[in-house]
């Protein structure tokens, strides 16, 4: 019998017993942080708790609606400057992570050989002892791969790892490392800027999927809305340059289907025209340098290379430079090449040419929240992860720890990252789900879900905020917050470690951290009052971050052509992998809401597909929905074809996120993981994996697939029901 929505009698009783009995040890203590006196928890009436969304790396502020002790709905926090009360599909679906039927419910120990996938439950005590003894057995050999956790947890991790002289790698697959590297090189600042889309009048985007999964889609989505219709007389123009018509390009006024890997060249061409036509707004000192750089290129050659006609380039340049507030951004497919960093630098140079740094509608670097003591939590590139292979080989037997990261899925098999797991003496995972990497662990000590735990989130890039997360529901399973684990191990190890990490649990550490911070920020209030206020608000943020002045205005060292793996004759197609709206890099694949969320462009749900330009498909005699084999020098996959008029004819595009071999019932064995096709091509400047640098060919199988389309026939969507009405 299903537990129905209003079955609150039982839960109410549980709440009553759990939260109201004095002297209740263990987990129930966690309920006391509720902001409301327990008398005010009334069945049938919702309570709202502010927290920070941890579904992606943007760190939106959220409000969680809790009724009868259960989280019912997640909504955007209207006061949070990152998302202003809005929330994306993934954030909404975080509830299905919390209540996912396949969550790990307690500590597990491997049985049988590694990778066999057999685990048996053990007690926390035993689990912790094993972990500690393994750590002690391998001094100096421990590696922690964690998702980026800017804030107190990063400080805890880095202190801990430093004390055991291990390595700490913050990694997230779609972290746009190339963008950070390019900005660092261009502007000399180690921050992600805020692109002031809302005030832009001409947005030139090179592949940046800012409306679906780039940096902070909600933040930029909000700004996009303002850019289009937020100003009474001005409507910002928006051009998207990329080989595949992405979700973001769908909203653009014009889509420029450029040849993959030549985005940097196009940027250079545009820059050249701007300079030649004398529209550059450069400082005196820079002009010579710029002219020298740009004069080295021939516009005709650029036009030929990029396959954007010369007039088109000139038009783009004029439109861009004549605009009141132009802005060029780059990322996504433009960054996913071996020349990604240089491409992005060339795009940055466009912004330098029109002098929009710090201007409204331009690029702004904002000072992070000051006075917050935290360790750096900048994500590392794929190259850094791959370097671990050598480390583990050399170190021989060492301990690998995983926190909320799944590198085995996120890295192409051609990178042979699996070797790290094979070489590790002991693998501990703190993940909440049995994902591909966790399945290879020796010990699983599952963390609380983020809605059950304390935490904070220091947003350094984009909009500076310090988000504060509190548990909104009683932990559902026998899990433990990872912070508490590290602190208690610190106590077991003792010595200097204990000195550096003296807190009894993570909550105490967090409070202390914030006490120091708030003491400086809100001097007139007592800590308790300020703390409660911060909890209610969901963190701390100032009225408007201070601008950081940019000292460096660098041009790319060179704009070299992108390298591709695979002979163009044998492998005639470029490959474009893109993050699907709901699943992103695959983290969302175990949330049924996201699996059933139609892909906005193709309306596919619950599976993978291959997008081919209809013209190309017809040349090959491929029917729509036919299963096709995509072959690269490194692997092959099979999936159904969807005719996609927004693909270059020489491009095959496949969504990421499916093809899990583990990760619960909704994800496992569904669709294909196109990462298996990829060659281990790396952008040398940023160390980022160049996902667009592999060439492929296709073969027909003749079998008809059954991709699930919400747009059932697919025919009708070729015509718009409104005809002329939908547009002007």
């Amino acid at each position: 019998m299903d537990l129905k929505r209003r079955d609150f009698l039982k839960v109410l009783g549980a709440t009553a017993a759990g939260s109201l009995l004095p002297g209740c040890a263990g987990e129930t203590k966690k309920l006391i942080p509720y902001l409301l006196p327990d008398e005010e928890i009334v069945p049938g009436v919702a309570n709202w708790y502010a927290s920070v969304c941890r579904e992606c790396e943007a760190g939106c502020g959220i409000l969680v609606r809790v009724m009868e002790g259960r989280a019912r709905k997640v909504e955007g926090n209207p006061t949070h400057p990152v998302n202003r009360g809005k929330l994306c599909a993934r954030g909404q679906a975080s509830l299905q992570g919390l209540y996912n039927p396949d969550r790990l419910q307690g500590p597990l120990q491997r049985e049988g050989a590694r990778g066999e996938g057999r685990f048996k439950p053990i007690s926390w005590e035993d689990g912790m002892s094993r972990w500690v003894s393994e750590l002690e057995k391998h001094p100096g050999g421990a590696v922690l791969i964690s998702r980026p956790v800017p804030g107190t947890l990063a400080r805890l991790f880095s202190t801990f790892i430093k004390e055991i002289s291990g390595r700490l790698l913050f990694y997230h697959p779609s972290a746009e490392r190339a963008l950070a590297a390019a900005n660092h090189r261009s502007f000399g600042i180690d921050l992600l800027p805020e692109y002031d889309l809302a005030n832009t009048t001409y947005l030139l985007s090179f592949g940046a999927p800012f409306l679906s999964d780039w940096l902070s889609p909600v933040h930029y989505g909000f700004a996009y809305g303002r850019m289009r219709q937020g100003r009474p007389t001005v409507r910002g123009r928006f051009i998207q340059v990329e080989p595949r018509l992405s979700l973001t390009a769908a909203s653009a006024d014009r889509w420029v289907p450029i040849r993959p890997g030549t985005e940097g060249l196009l940027a250079v061409g545009i820059g050249q025209v701007i300079l030649q036509e004398g529209r550059a707004r450069l400082a005196k000192g820079d002009r010579g340098r710029f002219e020298k750089f740009y004069s080295a290129f021939s516009l005709d050659q650029i036009a030929a290379e990029t396959e954007v006609p010369r007039e088109g380039i000139i038009r783009l340049a004029r439109g861009f430079s004549e605009a009141a507030a132009p802005l060029a951004i780059g990322g996504g497919s433009a960054a996913a090449q071996t020349n990604g960093t240089n491409t992005l630098m060339a795009i940055n140079a466009l912004n330098l040419l029109v002098g929009n740094l710090g201007a409204p509608g331009g690029i702004r670097f904002l000072q992070p929240v000051e006075g917050f003591h935290s360790a750096q939590a900048h994500p590392v590139s794929e190259q850094a992860l791959l370097d671990l292979r050598g480390f583990f080989k050399k170190q021989k037997r060492s301990v690998l720890m995983l926190y909320q990261s799944n590198p085995l899925y996120a890295l192409p098999s051609s990178t042979r990252f699996r070797e790290v797991f094979e070489d590790a003496a002991f693998v501990v995972s703190f993940n909440s789900f049995m994902d591909e990497s966790t399945a290879l662990a020796d010990l699983i000590l599952p963390d609380h879900f983020f809605l059950e735990s304390w935490g904070d989130f220091l947003n350094e890039g984009i909009v500076p905020t310090a988000g504060l997360a509190q548990p909104v529901v009683i932990p559902r399973y026998d899990t433990r917050p990872v912070g508490d684990l590290f602190l208690s191990v610190a106590k077991r190890i003792g010595g200097r470690m204990e000195e550096r990490l003296p807190w009894i649990d993570f909550r105490t550490m967090l409070r202390e951290q914030w006490k120091t911070f708030l003491a400086r920020r809100e001097r007139d209030k007592s800590f308790e009052a300020a703390w409660v206020e911060r909890l209610q608000q969901g963190g701390w943020w100032g009225p408007e971050g201070r601008l950081v002045s940019v000292s460096r205005r660098a041009l790319p060292d060179a704009v070299e052509p992108a390298r591709f793996e695979g002979d163009p004759k044998e492998y005639p197609f470029y490959l474009s992998l893109f993050e699907s709206m709901g699943l992103h890099g695959g983290e969302g694949a175990n949330r049924p809401w996201l699996q059933e969320l139609p892909d906005p462009m193709t309306s596919v749900v619950w599976g993978s597909w291959v997008e081919i330009n209809p013209k190309t498909a017809r040349e090959y005699g491929i029917q729509e929905r036919e299963i096709v084999r995509v072959i690269s020098p490194y692997g092959e996959i099979e999936a159904s074809v969807i005719y996609f008029p927004g693909n270059r004819p020489d491009l095959i595009s496949i969504p990421l996120g499916q093809g899990h071999t583990a990760y619960g019932r909704y994800a496992k064995g569904r669709g294909v993981n196109p990462l298996t096709l990829l060659a281990p091509m790396i952008d040398p400047l940023s160390g980022t994996l160049a996902t667009g640098a592999t060439r492929v060919r296709i073969e027909r199988t003749g079998r008809r697939g059954r991709p699930v389309l919400v747009d059932q026939t697919g025919e009708g969507t070729r015509r718009h029901p409104e005809g002329k009405k939908g547009e002007t």
Binding site: L12, A16, L20, V45
Partner: protein, 170 residues
Amino acid sequence: MRKWAGTLLALWVIAVALIVGFFYSQGSADLRGQDRQPIAFSHQRHAGELQINCLFCHRGADISPAASIPPVYVCMMCHRSLKAQTPETQKLLTYWNNKEPIPWVRLQRLPEFVRFTHQMHLNAGFKCTDCHGQVAQMTSTPRAATFEMGWCIRCHQRNGASKDCFTCHY
């Protein structure tokens, strides 16, 4: 005669349908549930003799859709200090000491598709007894009214409240 047989059959079918429908519309409330309450709680004793206000225990009634069952700790507010022990209060103490909720059997249940809010009705000036009867004189509390739709509608009509379906069903 054949015609009558047909009529009789039709009547029989309608009668069966009505009977089935009647019981169906009763929801899943078990009217004999009071025999199976874990503790023989007496409203007569508490609300009647001791004159405890309804809202003291059912504290959700005027602020929430649900009147709510009191948490164990509300019972213990008094029973902690009471010296006299009966087998029934002993049961209460057992629950309290084991930190278990009391599995009360629900008697006043509306079907899932009915959205009833106590709050609105109390705010409109109704008393608990208007619908639940003289609870203060009952040892067990069966339904005082049918709680069927027609019963709701009649009252809504009498009091000029909305008869719109979307008031209660969504």
